[in-house]
């Protein structure tokens, strides 16, 4: 009996050939294993973006994975290049980089000259013959390739049942005989099973941006481009062509395992080794941190860490981080590291972080650095968001673009983008697409959705949706269908050698940015170093606060240098008076603060970590609060467990504690614990935590823990899932939370000014920040062309206290250059009139109107109407008009008697231009009519008892529909007396969907609930009262 023919697929695209391939790498690998292929080559078009995923999937499988790429040259020549070894892989990456860097983002451009120059040594080449109509052109291509790559060149024969397969094969055989070239079978695979044909057609139409019925010959005529059964192939191809695939596969021995990472070495001065240099820097830092002498415990810990780092040869990594931080310091850019390695003593000494190991906790340094797993440490560094670019440019400059690039982020289809793109494919116009997307936002399947579709004018049973929706499901199903590569927010890859021999580099959208083709998971899977340089608005705001305060008061405040543990700051925090404070200003945080009552730094660390989906779903919040309030002594099943859980009163709150428990109670090694953490991160999506269960529970039992304890712990870990917050990050964040709270408490004017000057950032808009500052007694002065500069500033009041002067930056549509000229002109001489200002500052009409709209001319011209009249008159008349109107007369022009704006108009204009008003809250004007409808204000609600039915109304500040809250929508309403929190259960939300989604002014009927100092209204009925806002002026559309 004839055995089944062996086969290796050498030409296979994944969906990382964006909008061409239709299957995930792991699906292809799985199917190839299933079909008994000997090898599978991943050959995405000018890309290796999918290979790491394929590599991970193929680990431990009976399938050899080959790395290659399909390349289309600009002349029309197409080929597949397969890497035989590490060198070949490097050449291929270099060629891909060349092509990608030569084109705009997403594209590439390669010529024959590029191919010749690169040489593709140690690669095998499959020529993909095109254009059957021109024998001549084919021969020319064959000749050109043969002359350069003769001993490693094959003619790829792809028989896809086009009706002329035989002819095709014969033609290629002729060329093969003529040029003495071997033929090999390949499949031009675009999908792992033929069932993906529709999706492949659809993404093709998306790629060409045409409706599917116009895609015509851009689509493939049939669905043969899948991983075909070997028996089928045996019928189509001569046996020797199939056998040749295996022969080629055997010549390719490269595996991604071979990639070794070399850290940059230039940070070590001559005569030093990385080890000795890091030691020197650390010791110098230790003397700076502990001027009185390093405590013994710390000394021992430092020695332990240095030994571990040396053992794993991570010194260059720490030196790199130190170098970047040192640069930022030298430029006075605030920065702070986080992550477990960042919270090590070494990093504390190097100034990467200010978390004092004594003040902090026993942070788990070994979380990312473990002896067993060759995984790099991970340090995130936050910088001021307005100045991070300087740091990035420094890195590029220092290491060069050949050695430093940003990690990619794979942008996956989300419901919204999938529906938008598929909508186009099915010929919906943008307006229809928008309507469809809106419906699906409330995706909950079943009858509700059908009804909404009908409401929106779609037929849920119509053929169009019947075809569109399954495709949309396929696009958004886990693990996602990639759409394009984008840049990671700040993950830098830096290497000792040329980075482009390791992974191809391509252009990002942002000018001057380059990204590698792998994302952070890919890098992690291969153990490559990454430093996250992130932007943090609060650091900007803190620096600006310090500058303002220090200038006003002559103090020397700095990050981490404020008076520590001030009780009045914790008083304020415990009152949930935290608008603007880092991390603890959100509604959920504010609800927790009065219950948790933070009284010290470590309480803040807990506060930040506890208001997260993990602890909430794992049901850790209530036990923790209960124990905290009762103060009863804990008993732990063992001292080891006690050591882990003591600092959080026996309740695991941090991600690290889960791992520490696995180590302490179940006997995991740190490496195994880390594997557990990674599995937890992904188990909800892909499972894979079950085999840890046995090990965990078994380990705990064998150490004498009760079954019930073991099971409960395991369940808590599951609840934690990926949402647990690491203590090492929380510890760094808590420092910033404290500093910002201190400033809010003691310097509200300066703090608010700094927040306004750092927008956009944080949770609240300028209107709320300013209103909050004023309720704390800060005087806020309006934007004024005679006083304001660009930023918000402090003015000294007669009583010596600071007043906050709003800056020109708040004025909508005012150009910064115009503002600069204005300030410059004012320095010479104060302005006498609007005309004088316009002339001397040379402002154009756009800037003048922006200032008039902001009411900034009040000191020169009076109300806004008059300001606009004057501004409109500053323009030179056109010649044509001059004929009709004698310009001499213009100077004598009288001021018309214009109506004074009403208070409503003023308030609306304030919001429209400056984003806030110093006048009354809009609802104050409507209060009489609201009262007549028996609607209560926020203050009224304070006096209402739990369980009372109430009616209230307010401007909708925020709508949140957390994925974890099973359909509940949280609303925050605001009126002139404060804010009201509304909870809308799913059923009510469905019933009053329009009012819920569209209202700007919302009326709520419901029941007041008050628990543990937290008040909210559970809505029963909702009404859109937005038209009332419109009554403030004749036309309402300007109100935001």
């Amino acid at each position: 009996m004839r055995s089944e023919v062996p086969y290796a697929e050498l030409h296979c695209l994944t969906h990382f050939t964006f909008l061409r391939g239709a299957s995930h790498p792991h699906e292809l690998v799985g199917q190839a294993v299933e079909l008994g292929y000997e090898a599978l080559a991943i050959t995405d078009e000018c890309s290796v973006a999918g290979v790491v995923r394929a590599h991970v999937a193929a680990k431990g499988q009976q399938l050899k994975l080959i790395i290659g790429a399909e390349l289309h040259l600009t002349c029309g020549l197409k080929l597949v290049a397969l890497a035989t070894d590490r060198r070949g892989y490097g050449r291929l990456c270099r060629l891909i980089t060349r092509g990608r860097r030569a084109a705009a983002k997403g594209g590439y451009s390669l010529t024959r000259a590029d191919l010749e120059e690169n040489g593709l040594e140690h690669c095998l080449i499959l020529w993909l013959p095109q254009d059957p109509s021109s024998e001549e052109a084919r021969l020319e291509e064959a000749r050109w390739l043969d002359e350069r790559f003769s001993d490693k060149l094959w003619i790829a024969v792809e028989l896809l049942r086009g009706g002329t397969d035989r002819e095709h094969l014969q033609a290629l055989q002729r060329i093969g005989r003529e040029r003495q070239l071997p033929l090999v079978a390949s499949g031009d695979v675009h999908m792992h099973v033929r069932a993906r044909r529709r999706l492949q057609d659809a993404v093709t139409a998306i790629r060409h941006n045409v409706p599917i019925w116009e895609a015509g010959s851009k689509l493939y005529p049939n669905g043969e481009r899948y991983l075909r059964e070997r028996a089928r192939l045996a019928k189509l191809y001569p046996r020797e062509l199939l056998e040749e695939t295996v022969a080629i596969a055997r010549r390719c021995t490269f595996s991604l395992e071979e990639l070794r990472y070399e850290y940059p070495h230039e940070l070590v001065p001559p005569g030093e080794t990385p080890t000795s240099h890091l030691r020197k820097l650390t010791e110098a830092g230790a003397r700076w941190r502990w001027p009185q002498g390093v405590p013994d415990g710390e000394r021992a810990a430092i020695e332990h860490e240095l030994a571990l780092i040396a053992d794993l040869r991570y010194e260059p990594y720490f030196l790199t981080v130190h170098d970047i931080v040192a640069f930022a310091r030298s430029k006075k850019i605030l920065c702070q590291g986080r992550g477990s390695a960042a919270n090590s003593r070494v990093c504390y000494c190097l100034g990467v972080t200010s978390v004092d190991p004594l003040r902090g906790a026993s942070l788990l340094f070994e979380r990312f650095i473990s002896r067993e797993r060759n995984e790099p440490p991970d340090i995130d560094i936050d910088f001021e968001h307005e100045r991070r670019e300087e740091v990035i440019q420094y890195v590029y400059e220092k290491y060069g673009r050949e050695r430093a690039a940003i990690a990619a982020t794979v942008i996956m289809y989300r419901p919204r983008s999938a529906l938008r793109d598929l909508g186009k494919v099915f010929g919906l116009d943008p307006e229809e697409c928008a309507r469809l997307t809106k419906v699906i936002q409330w995706w909950d399947g079943g009858e509700v959705m059908r009804e909404r579709l009908r409401e929106a004018g779609f037929d849920p049973d119509g053929p169009m949706l019947a075809r569109l929706l399954p495709l949309a499901h396929e696009l958004v199903a886990f693990p996602g269908f990639p759409r394009h590569l984008s840049q990671h927010v700040g993950g830098f890859v830096i290497s000792e050698g040329a980075l482009e021999e390791l992974v191809p580099i391509e252009n990002a959208t942002m000018k001057g940015r380059t990204v590698v083709q792998w994302d952070k998971d890919d890098l992690n899977d291969l153990g490559l170093l990454k430093v996250d340089l992130l932007a943090l608005g609060m650091l900007t705001a803190l620096r600006k606060s310090f500058d303002l305060v220090n200038a006003f008061r002559g103090t020397q405040h700095a990050l981490g240098g404020l008076p520590a543990e001030a009780p009045e700051v914790y008083e304020m925090i415990s009152r949930a008076d935290t608008i603007g404070v880092f991390q603890i200003e959100s509604r959920a945080q504010m609800a927790m603060l009065p219950r948790l009552q933070p009284r010290c730094y470590y309480d803040l660390v807990i506060e930040i970590a506890i208001v997260r989906p993990g602890p909430i779903q794992g049901d850790m919040v209530h036990p923790y609060l209960k124990r905290r309030q009762s103060g009863e002594p804990m008993s732990y099943p063992s001292t080891e467990v006690g050591a882990v859980l003591k600092r959080t009163l026996g309740v695991p709150i941090f991600q690290e504690q889960v791992m520490q428990l696995a180590i302490a109670a179940a006997g995991f090694t740190p490496g195994e614990a880390d594997a557990l953490r990674r599995a937890m991160g992904a188990w909800k999506r892909s499972g894979g935590i079950e085999h840890f269960r046995e090990k965990l529970i078994g380990g705990m039992k064998s150490r004498g823990y009760a079954d019930e304890f073991a099971e409960r712990l395991y369940q808590q870990m599951l609840g934690f899932g990926e949402y647990g917050f690491p203590e090492s990050h929380s510890a760094s964040f808590a420092l910033l939370a404290y500093d910002s709270a201190w400033l809010k408490c003691h310097e509200p004017a300066a703090f608010t000014a700094a927040l306004l000057n750092s927008q956009p950032m944080g949770f609240y808009a300028p209107a709320q920040l300013v209103r909050d500052a004023r309720t704390h007694g800060a005087e806020v002065r309006p934007v004024d062309v005679c006083m304001s500069v660009w930023d918000c500033t402090l003015e000294r009041r007669e009583d010596g206290h600071p007043a906050l002067r709003l800056g020109l930056r708040l004025v909508k549509s005012l150009s910064q250059s115009g503002a600069d000229r204005l300030i410059e002109a004012r320095l010479h001489q104060p302005f006498a009139s609007v005309q004088d200002l316009a002339a001397r500052a040379a402002l154009d009409r756009g800037d003048l109107e922006a200032l008039a709209a902001a009411g900034a001319f009040a000191a020169l011209s009076g109300n806004r109407h008059l300001a606009f009249w004057e501004v409109a008159g500053t323009e030179r008349p056109l010649p044509l008009e001059a004929a009709l109107v004698d310009t001499h007369e213009a100077a004598l022009e009288p001021t018309p008697l214009l109506r004074t704006p009403t208070e409503g108009e003023r308030i609306v204009a304030d919001y429209a231009s400056v984003g806030l008003t110093l006048g009354r809250h809009p609802l104050a004007l409507l209060r009489a009519s609201l009262q007549s409808k028996r609607l209560l204000s926020a203050r009224d609600l304070d006096g209402v008892a739990h369980g009372t039915p109430v009616r209230t109304a307010g401007i909708v500040l925020m709508r949140q529909r957390p994925g974890t809250a099973s359909g509940v929508t949280f609303l925050t309403l605001e009126d002139e007396t404060g804010q009201v929190n509304i909870i809308v259960w799913e059923r009510i939300g469905d019933e009053y969907r329009r009012a819920l989604v569209e209202s700007r002014l919302l009326e709520v009927h419901g029941e007041l609930q008050r628990q543990e100092g937290v008040t909210h209204v559970v809505a029963h009925r909702l009404f859109d009262r937005s038209p009332l806002l419109g009554q403030l002026i004749t036309r309402s559309r300007d109100f935001h």
């Binding site: 049942r161 086009g162 035989r166 109407h865 008009e881 109107v885 004598l892 018309p896 004749t1034």
Partner: protein, 490 residues
């Protein structure tokens, strides 16, 4: 009969409005004065009186309908102007006594609108713009558009002295100024016509433009407002009574020839052509026989029209002898005059292109328009969707002229496909048609078209039947794997 409601607008006492700050007397007259000064109390009869008809449907009516209404309005006054897209203006002062004053005339106009089922808002004022502004603002003033003649409410200002006062409360939007201008006026707190009129002339012109100043001047009758008079678009309509009854087709054409000649002159004089031409043949006692000629391109030449009409008439069966005939043109279409080609077809590259339209017209006239069609190749892998019937192309685009020898795009497909594939018998899994079919070559697999409900999944083969005819057959990929005949090779 119901009583008319002629609404008198509340008069805003213009004297009560705050007086603008007066500048010292200057030599240049009224430049520093407000756009309009104080009105005198006396009644002033205006020289003209305008009726504005604002069609208040949600979407503006078609230009065609506006013209129809314009044509009907001409029976009320010779001075009718169109104000596209949705308004009509009639100067009615001279016609008032004929139709029973403002009320009677308005009712007549509302009646015309309701016959065309166009809800309308009517207003009368001494200037065209004032009437228009009133009509447009009518809804804001609480008047709903009328749907019948009797329900028509008319906003009326007949006294020039009251004009400014009554216009004052109207929103500026009624003047249809550019939104940007309205926004800029709103920013100085000016939202009504009255507020705008109080601004100083020079200052207003400098800021908001002379065009707008002129509009205000025309609005209040300070300068006259000339309106283009509407003229009905002409159509050709001639009738010829016969002194004898005709039965022969040839004689019929001879009778029509002078009419056609007149049509030709009529069209040439206006540089227009027609797209439809109707010939009505009248009989005794029964409805006329109608013969409609539809053209693919505008035509004005009497000879060509005669030829085409002749073809159509030839195909006509006359139920009775003809006693009179009539030619009616469709709307005139302006025609781009083509210059003749220098070369005759076949001569020095002179193409058949110029003649193609003529040939097609002729074929269509003779065989009926349905019988002559063009073909278009469509990019689609499905054979049955790869071409489509279309209107014949009358003029080849310039680019296409050079390359008229595009090859048949489907190499190994037959040019003749059956309209619907015909199922074949089979034996032992092989198709039969007048005996067993022999399959040649290999399968061409086509699986596509899932997006429009006509998905196919087939393996196509070339087959030879017992007589040697080459057929294009396919086997369905799905069960029960039936065989079909889809085409025949030539």
């Amino acid at each position: 009969m119901r009583h008319r409601r002629a609404l008198e607008l509340p008069l805003e006492d213009s004297a009560a409005a705050p007086a603008p700050r007066q500048a010292p007397a200057s030599r240049s007259g009224d430049l520093l004065h407000p756009i309009v000064g104080r009105a005198d109390a006396a009644t002033i009869a205006p020289a003209e009186l305008w009726l504005a008809v604002h069609l208040a449907s949600p979407s503006p009516p078609a230009q065609q309908n506006l013209e129809r209404l314009g044509a009907r309005a001409q029976r009320l006054t010779p001075r009718v102007s169109l104000d596209p897209p949705d308004s009509l203006l009639l100067e009615i002062k001279g016609s008032l006594h004929l139709f029973g004053g403002v009320a009677g005339l308005s009712r007549e106009m509302a009646g015309e609108c309701s016959r065309l089922q166009m809800p309308c808002m009517l207003a009368v004022a001494p200037t065209p713009l004032a009437a228009l502004a009133l009509a447009r603002a009518g809804r804001k003033l609480g008047v709903s558009p009328s749907r019948t003649a009797d329900s028509a409410a008319v906003l009326t200002i007949t006294d020039l002295a009251q004009l400014v006062g009554k216009l004052s409360p109207l929103p500026l939007a009624a003047l249809r100024w550019p939104q940007d201008t309205l926004n800029r006026l709103a920013r100085i707190g000016v939202r009504t016509i009255g507020e705008a009129l109080r601004l100083p002339r020079a200052g207003f012109a400098r800021r908001f433009g002379t065009v707008q100043l002129q509009t205000l001047d025309r609005l209040i009758g300070r300068v006259s407002d000339l309106k283009d008079r509407f003229e009905v678009r002409p159509r050709f309509r001639r009738r010829r009574e016969l002194i004898y009854e005709l039965e022969s087709h040839a004689a019929l054409l001879a009778v029509l020839t002078p009419l056609l000649a007149q049509l030709g002159e009529f069209l040439q004089a206006r540089q227009c052509g027609v797209l439809t031409l109707e010939c009505r043949l009248r009989h005794r006692g029964i409805p006329p026989t109608r013969c409609v000629l539809r053209l693919a391109a505008p035509l004005a030449d009497a000879v060509q029209l005669a030829t085409l009409l002749g073809e159509r008439l030839n195909a006509l069966v006359l139920p009775q002898p003809v006693r009179a005939c009539e030619l009616r043109s469709g709307p005139l279409v302006s025609r781009i005059l083509a210059s003749g080609e220098l070369w005759q077809p076949g001569e020095h590259g002179g193409g058949a292109a110029a003649q193609a339209p003529e040939l097609i017209e002729r074929l269509r006239a003779r065989l009926g328009p349905e019988a002559v069609y063009g073909l278009r190749v469509i990019e689609d892998h499905r054979p049955e969707a790869a071409w489509q019937v279309r209107e014949p192309v009358m003029t080849l685009p310039a680019a296409a002229r050079g390359s008229q020898n595009d090859p048949w795009p489907f190499g190994h497909r037959p040019p003749w496909l059956l309209p619907v594939p015909r199922q074949l018998n089979e034996r032992d899994g092989l198709p039969r048609r007048r005996g067993a079919l022999r399959l040649l070559g290999e399968a061409e697999r086509i699986e596509t078209g899932w997006w429009d409900g006509h998905e196919i999944a087939r393996d196509y083969y070339t087959a030879v039947d017992a007589r040697g005819a080459r057929l294009w057959v396919f086997r369905e990929r799905e069960l029960p794997h039936r065989w079909f005949l889809h085409g025949v090779f030539g």
